[in-house]
Subunit: 165 residues, 2 copies
């Protein structure tokens, strides 16, 4: 199957659909993070907490003891899917996958203060552990996206569609 044929599965993105995708992203508090296992290159998927920064881009708080943190440090390429299924057909509910590069946030930086503020506003209980020595913030910087509005309704998004504005 050629790339052209596969592309045929995507619908033409409209400003309204891009706005729906951004609206979904703005509300989420967690996602499914795909990383590359640094030992053997297998894909891995784990649940992470998420919050949106003032620029609309996601940040997460992770432990350096966890496999996904080791994976992201070895290879920052990742993807995160957001949007929970509700009742009924799980494939009928909207979800957005952002293909990203992860960027660790340096402790003590202004960015760290902003990431912490955004994350704790969304996840107040993370105050209990966000300053543990093994915890760190990582930003997930989107390079492209895929939005599935419902069964069979898939759209591709570029960086400008994701950032909006």
């Amino acid at each position: 199957m050629s790339a052209e044929e596969r592309t045929g599965v995507f619908r033409e993105l409209t400003p309204e659909v891009a706005a729906d995708a951004r609206a979904l992203l703005a509300t989420v508090g967690h996602g499914a993070l795909a990383t590359l296992e640094h030992e053997d290159g297998y894909p891995m998927v784990t649940r992470i907490g998420l919050a949106m920064m003032p620029d609309g881009m996601p940040t997460t708080l992770v432990s350096e003891l966890s496999g996904h943190t080791a994976a992201l440090r070895a290879d920052p390429r990742c993807a995160v899917m957001v949007g929970d299924p509700g009742k009924g057909d799980p494939l009928a509910h909207p979800r957005l996958t952002l293909t990203c590069r992860a960027a660790e946030v340096a402790r003590g930086s202004d960015l760290h203060a902003a990431a912490r503020e955004a994350y704790l506003a969304r996840h107040p209980k993370a105050k209990l552990y966000d300053d543990f020595a093994d915890f760190l913030f990582m930003r997930l910087l989107p390079e492209r996206g895929s939005y599935v509005a419902g069964f069979g309704a898939a759209y591709r998004l570029g960086p400008a569609d994701i950032a909006g504005g």
Copy 2:
């Protein structure tokens, strides 16, 4: 950080915890599938429908027009996370990630009949499209697993822990 140090984050698996992980797997109808983008090797994550075969292993019904099918045909290595977050802290709810190889089920085979029966029992509305020419069943054959029973409570599972019996 060495592999030994990271291993320290996993707790010792007990038969009870392995049974909890299998019980979770038995109930699920969808999951977050991590694959490798065949064009550039980035990880990707998408939502798929799932059903368990009589042997307890998951099968999914996918379209060959979708990116994850093309990815799995190019490289069958994948991982699937199951277990939805409920109310409250999304990291407090159990989830299981199976690292798998995907195996396409040949149309007309006994395995195809078994996969179809299992999938349609879990997703009756898939009768509307399961026999479309571009749809196919893929089994996800676990090589290892990671079960997070709650915040910070992570366990590794081997194939026998996943299959039970």
